[in-house]
Symmetry: C2
Subunit: 220 residues, 2 copies
Amino acid sequence: MTLNNEQAITSADKTFYQLRNDIVEGIIPSGCKLSETELSTKYEVSRAVVREAINRLATCHLVERKANVGARVVALSPEGLVQLYQVREALEGMAARLAARYMSDEEIAAMQGLLDSHFNKVKGGESYYQEAGDVDFHYRIVTGSKNSHLISVLIDGLYHLVRMYRVQLGMAGPRVTTAFDEHRHIVNAIANRDEELAEILMRRHILYSKNNIEKKLNHA
Amino acid sequence: MTLNNEQAITSADKTFYQLRNDIVEGIIPSGCKLSETELSTKYEVSRAVVREAINRLATCHLVERKANVGARVVALSPEGLVQLYQVREALEGMAARLAARYMSDEEIAAMQGLLDSHFNKVKGGESYYQEAGDVDFHYRIVTGSKNSHLISVLIDGLYHLVRMYRVQLGMAGPRVTTAFDEHRHIVNAIANRDEELAEILMRRHILYSKNNIEKKLNHA
DNA sequence: AGTGGCTATATTGTCGACATTATGAGAAAA
DNA sequence: TTTTCTCATAATGTCGACAATATAGCCACT
């Protein structure tokens, strides 16, 4: 689970987070219609706050809204997944480049320490790594870019969609050790302040990741 | 002016477009506070629709909102401009790559025709090209990527911020002919289905554009 | 005079009711 | 039987009022 430093202060925030979680986890299934009145009774809040929550979900591309008709949970498709990873490749590639430029030495050291601890857990046989570790790694790179647009588009937007695909298409799977090595190489490039290499490696990393998921998707 | 195929159907849409335009054009100055009650009387709509419009503006990064405090028009800064162009470089580079892959021959031919007509106008001494022409060109590349995420992030989001910087920092300026040549080379790469080159050229094009604006900004 | 806390006020957050639009069922006509 | 029109219904869009919160000003106290 993503460790949320985003805390709900208003009632609409809370409803938004709950709804988002329910959608990502598949509790509200893909393609399902979101009735404002229904949700307002279910979550025990006014229709106005449900409306605001749905609007925010729409900007995350987790639901699609049509005027005077309503909102539906986004439909998952192979094409959608491909498009998602195309954008991730561009955005996270740039994030890695900027991380190599702007991350402080302390941040880089902390990230190397993170990878070390992951390595021990993987070596110890824990499958913990796959989800939380991967999320944590990419999260640090993105925030390390110090670019508010990159941060908001990826962390507030695309990552939830990525998680939705992973959860609902049952991507718990492997690619642990190979992904780990790729992470290592990326961090090394960042530590060497090699922007060009950091970007290339990150793009390859995401491309491999996409191919892996696509392969699984076609076999299922 | 951007030719809007986005048409307002609901009242909130109209208010959103009006507000967005007023902000981009500087009619509502940068840093200005947006009072919901005040705007609701000004635009003669309910506070609820103003609220929704402001929320949408927040997702475009045109205003910043704080809970229980309100929304302010975003402040323009050199750092903000740099970050904006960093994201543009990543996103539009990928868009050019995908355009080379997915655009139909007819679309490419139409784009070449567009450049020809621009060339005639530039040769004829019209300064028309700078704004509308540039917008049109980039618009076609992005839509040519057929990637809904790229399209929405760039066209619904970043481009308005770009325009806001251009308008408010008085970037009417030159770079017409050189930018035109760069456009030509990009279209040629796309026509040759050379994804790699299309992306590289687009990234360079945006990098140059950024440097040009930064230079002006420092001189002013 | 400066600082701390309190109150008044204005703004945002939330709510329920009304207006408007889309959609499906059913009747009438071909 | 099929098609089209009408109308009922249920949803979204919009509104004004109330509740909760932040901010500024004022007063007391040191």
